[in-house]
Structures are given as structure tokens and as C-alpha cells.
Point group: C2
Chain length 359, copies 2
């Protein structure tokens, strides 16, 4: 009954938007004569906001990410960066695992390296459900255990069993290697679990990959999952989106389109068109997508690429929920459960999944 009423609401959204599109299609077009002048914004000193928790204030006050403007220029350089950041992350990941009291077991599924992440307590309504988590890192970073924080957070806070995919990355495998790997795991998961009981979750490149998975599943005629959580997705890798510019030098994680993330995406694409919807999913046909929750922050370089996906889904009549966190830069919500706002974000994601996945 609840599920049916949801579908009816969704249809109503699509019908209503279509109706108004028709109603106004005869509206007079605006004159296109004025030149599109850019906005000149002077230099600014921006205080740490006092409208967030003291814990988050400490994060916001951190300087721009070290080395943001000097991305690697060789395959060996990327491998070295991925390995060094993994080594740095490793003890933090283990400390977080212990705090969250989740069990992490490495394995393979569909021929792909995975981790099975199990919380101390699987919520009763999640007993037959499974989340598939796709890590971020601009398609190039966060191999092995560095992939785990988001999986551990949603396992513990949402009470879900989670499979975290340690997909191949360049130079081992270029586009579409990452997507092929997550699809192989998805196929293996839905062979045993009703897809309507399966949720996808990912952030940044992972946020793009979970959207690309929806597009790819449609291409392959596979059933779609029951819900998607796409966090600050790299939905457009063509440097397109207003906050790439408005939040440049403000976002302390990605900093600018001149930083490592765009360079990494190009390294992954390996000459392939960056506008391919399987690299920049904003350009794909998302009709038929399941309910989708989107997460971003007001300082996020990818805020535009998050709200653009939200609007695209809504205009297709899809149930989609947007949450935006005060003062947060790109993907900061997925790093540490000791920040109260991050617990909020994963609580929302867990509840959204809970409200939409089949029991």
C-alpha cells in the first residue's frame, strides 16, 4: 500500500511537470542580445562559520589540501600517490572500524575484490537487504582498505550489511574497468538477492559510478536496484557546473578544476570522451531510476553537479531527496563519524534506503 502510493506520487510529479511544460511552451522567448558578462568577484577573507558543530569547525579551518595543484603526471606518479594515501589512511580506517564495531572481511565476488562489512547489529528490517558501496577517489585513489570508510559508516549507522567494491583502477585498468568491476559485483549480488532489496551507495567518483551503474544496467537490460545514494557525484567531468567556479579555492578538498580530481578523471578516461554518460552521468538518460538521495555541502566544488542530478531526477518524476550541509567541502561528510553532521548525513541515507528498499 505504501509502495503503491509512492508510485502514484511519482507519476503525478512527472505528469504535472509535463502539463506545465505544455502550458508554457508558447511563452515568448527572452531576447538573446545581451552579452553574457561574467561576474567579477573580489578577493575575500571567509571566516569559519559558527553555524556548525565545534568538531566540523575544526575541519573547515584546515588549510587547502596539500599538493592540490600538483597532480601526478605519469602512471607511476598516480600509483605512488594512491599507495601513499592508502598507507596514511590505513591506521585511521582501522581506528574507525574499531569505534564503529563493524566486522570487515576481504573476499572476491564476480571475480572482483570486495570487502564484506557487517555491523554489530543488522536492523531487523534490513535482514534481507544488501548495500553495495562504491568508493570515491577520482577513479584513481583509495584502493584496498582506503575504500572502506563510507561502507563502515552506513553499515554501523544504518544497520546494513554492505559489500564494498575494491574495483581496479588505472594504470591497472582504464575506463570502463571500474564500471565493469562494479557491474560484475552487482550481477553477482542480484543473482542471490532481489534487486529491489539492493541499494547502491557511493561518493564522488563512487557517487558517479552508482549513477553510471543505473545507466549501464539499463543498457544491459538488467533490473535496477531499489534505491541509490549518490554523494556529491562527479556527475560531470567536463569542468561544467557553476560551483566549479564559485566554490574554487574555497572547497579545501578538491580546491579547483585545476586540481588532482580532473587530472585523475582524464587519466581514468584514457582518451575516451569525458562527456560519455558512463563517465559524466549527467548526460545520460536517468528515466526509470529508483529513488535517489543526494548529499553535498555549501562549499562543495561539486554542489552544482549534485543539484543538477537532483533536478534532472525530479523532472523525470523520480523520488529524489537532496541534503546539503552547511560549510562542508567535497565529500567531507564521509570521512569521520565523530563529526555530528556526518552522523546526520548517514542517518538520512540509512533512513532513505530503509524507506525505499523492499523488506
Amino acid at each position: 500500500m505504501q509502495h503503491k502510493s509512492k508510485i502514484s506520487t511519482v507519476s503525478r510529479v512527472a505528469l504535472r511537470i509535463a502539463a506545465f511544460a505544455a502550458l508554457y511552451s508558447s511563452a515568448v522567448a527572452f531576447a538573446q542580445s545581451a552579452p553574457l558578462a561574467p561576474r567579477e568577484v573580489p578577493a575575500k577573507t571567509i571566516p569559519v562559520p559558527n553555524t556548525v558543530s565545534p568538531e566540523l569547525q575544526q575541519i573547515i579551518a584546515q588549510p587547502l589540501r596539500t599538493g592540490w595543484s600538483t597532480p601526478p603526471t605519469t602512471p607511476e606518479g598516480w600509483t605512488h600517490l594512491a599507495e601513499s594515501t592508502r598507507a596514511t589512511a590505513s591506521p585511521n580506517v582501522e581506528a574507525m572500524r574499531a569505534r564503529l564495531k563493524v566486522k570487515v572481511e576481504p573476499g572476491t565476488l564476480g571475480g572482483v575484490k570486495i570487502y564484506t562489512v557487517t555491523p554489530e547489529k543488522v536492523l531487523p528490517e534490513n535482514r534481507n537487504r544488501m548495500l553495495l558501496q562504491v568508493h570515491g577517489g577520482c577513479y584513481v585513489l583509495n584502493p584496498a582498505e582506503a575504500a572502506l570508510p563510507e561502507a563502515m559508516l552506513i553499515a554501523a549507522i544504518g544497520g546494513y550489511r554492505v559489500i564494498a567494491v575494491d574495483y581496479r583502477m588505472p594504470p591497472e585498468a582504464y575506463f570502463p574497468g571500474a564500471l565493469d568491476d562494479v557491474m560484475a559485483v552487482y550481477r553477482a549480488v542480484i543473482a542471490k538477492t532481489d534487486p529491489k532489496r539492493v541499494g547502491l551507495i557511493g561518493t564522488s567518483a563512487g557517487g558517479a559510478l552508482v549513477l553510471e551503474m543505473g545507466l549501464r544496467a539499463k543498457q544491459l537490460g538488467l533490473p535496477l536496484p531499489g534505491a541509490i545514494a549518490s554523494g556529491t557525484p562527479m556527475s560531470d567531468s567536463t569542468k561544467t557546473g557553476d560551483t566549479f567556479y564559485t566554490n574554487a579555492m574555497l572547497d579545501s578538498v578538491l580546491v579547483s578544476t585545476e586540481g588532482f580530481c580532473d587530472a585523475a578523471a582524464a587519466f581514468y578516461a584514457n582518451g575516451h570522451d569525458l562527456k560519455d554518460p558512463l563517465i559524466s552521468p549527467i548526460y545520460g538518460d536517468m528515466s526509470g531510476f529508483p529513488p535517489t538521495i543526494l548529499t553535498s555541502g555549501t562549499r562543495d566544488l561539486l554542489l552544482s553537479n549534485t543539484v543538477r542530478v537532483h533536478r534532472k531526477l525530479r523532472n523525470l518524476g523520480i523520488d529524489s531527496f537532496l541534503q546539503v550541509y552547511e560549510g562542508q567541502s567535497h565529500a567531507q561528510y564521509g570521512r569521520d563519524e565523530r563529526i555530528p553532521e556526518n552522523r546526520e548525513a548517514f542517518t538520512e541515507i540509512g533512513m532513505f534506503m530503509n524507506g525505499h528498499l523492499k523488506k
Copy 2:
């Protein structure tokens, strides 16, 4: 049935968030030793985004609002500004009225000046419903017919009957004159219409006033309305909120906290504490609020004050939906239905009301 399942979802939200708050209350606090360094952002030239409609691109390309940095300094100056902007708006309002085919009738209700706005076609499910619209203008601007655009937009696009309140403004009446007036109209409306069939809608100062109405209704023991649409609310008039700084000189409407809106709010407050929840409703207790939709834009000076309300409501377990539009400055969505994104925004608002108001 649908209504009951909604209530149960809402309760679940509150319970879940409370449970996780308890789970993590023993988390080790972060060290508070690091100084909270501000972010130094260099001057930037920001192009008009090509990720919005051509019509919206023209709006975004417009220069900063004329006179933004020289607000009036005398009561007579404010009266003159309100009157001159009303006179400028008047023919545009009439042209929009004609395009939208709505009927506008002036009158009084509860002793307060109002307009009744009736669309060509009231949707069947809205026959017993009524929206009460509270205009923006920093508590000082948009008297008389200048108050009407938002009321006309939601009447035509949502298919609702709307009462637009032409509340008193300073120097005729200072705080809490505007709030007293909208409450008088609300009392008169709910004397004849089940409050669960009444929705409140407002933008900017109006977005704050509809939240203040909820707080004031609780103080007075009046029933709350069935739903609220709060657009880019002046939820915090104390210059507090990250995007007051990050979007300064980027938002072409409000431009900066040094502009006319903060000066106008101080003129309205007339020496009263700006942190009073009836002026800055973010500081109020919103528990028990009805479902609330919030609207903002990525360049909005009040994006933070919008998402802060969204998070506050969600943490109270209240059904609240956030929509953020690419590239839009403060309240631009409420100005002209020929911008496709503006039709989207009011379609969402109309559907949200439709999904939550009693039939």
C-alpha cells in the same frame, strides 16, 4: 492510509536520529587547540553557467543590483525606495497577471489588506484548500501589488486559491507589526477553513515570516497549518551563516550583508534583538512544524540560512524537502514564470502542498 504512513515515517526519523545521537554521545571530543583560520579566497572571474536555461543565463548575466551598497538611512528614504520599486514593478506585475490568467481582487481580512488571487482553474483536489502568501522584500519593500508575483505563480502553476497579505511595514508599523498582520489573516482563514487544508508560502522576509507564523501559532496555542513553503528564508538576520560570506559579491540580488537587506531588517526590528526567533526563526523551537519545502539557489546569499532550516527540521523528524537551483541568486525563482527553472520550482512547491494538505 497514506497520511498515516507519513506520520509513521516522520516518527521513525526522529527516533532514529535520537538513537544515533545516544550511540555516539561518548565519542571523544576533538581537540580545540587549533586556531580557526579563515579561508583566503583570491579574486575570481566567474562565467555565466551553461548548465541552466538560456532564459536563466540572461538573468545570471545581469550586473549586481543597482544601489545595493547604498541603502536608505532615514524612514523617508525607505518609504521612497518602497514606493519607487513598487511603481517600477507595477506594469510587470500586471503583465504577469495577464500571462498567468489569474484574477486578483483587493480586500481586507482580519482587518488587514489582502488580495484574493484565483487561477483560471482551481485543481479539483484543491477545492477546499487555501494558501496564504506572505511577500518578501526585507520586511520593508514590495507593498501593494508588488506583493503579488509569488501568489500569482503558485495560484496558476499549483492550481490554488491564494490570499496574498499586504502587511504593514515600517515606518507605518515596526516589529512585530508584519507578524501581527499575517497572524490576523491566518486566524480569519482558519476560522473558516480547516488549518490542515491551509498552506503558508513566502520567500525571503516572507520565507522567514511563514516560519515565524509557525512559532507564533505555537505560542498562542493556535493550530498549525498543513504545510509550509519557505523560500530562501531570512531565517537569521544576525549576519550569521556561511554563504553570507562565500556568496558575497556573487549573489546579484542581495549582494552582501553590507547591502540593503540587513539594513532593512534592522529598520524593521527598530532596536529589538535581531536574535529573537520572531525575527530570526532559526533560533526558534520548530518541533511540531508541518511538512515544509525549502527553495534556494547555488549563488544565493541565504543558501546557508535555507539549508540550516532544512537540517533543523529534519533533526526534529519533520518531513522537509530541499530544492536548490543551479546558478540562482536570492529569490530569483519567484520573479518570472518565463524562466523554465522558475516553473519547476513552483511545480515542486505546488506538488509538495498537494501531497501534504488535507483534501
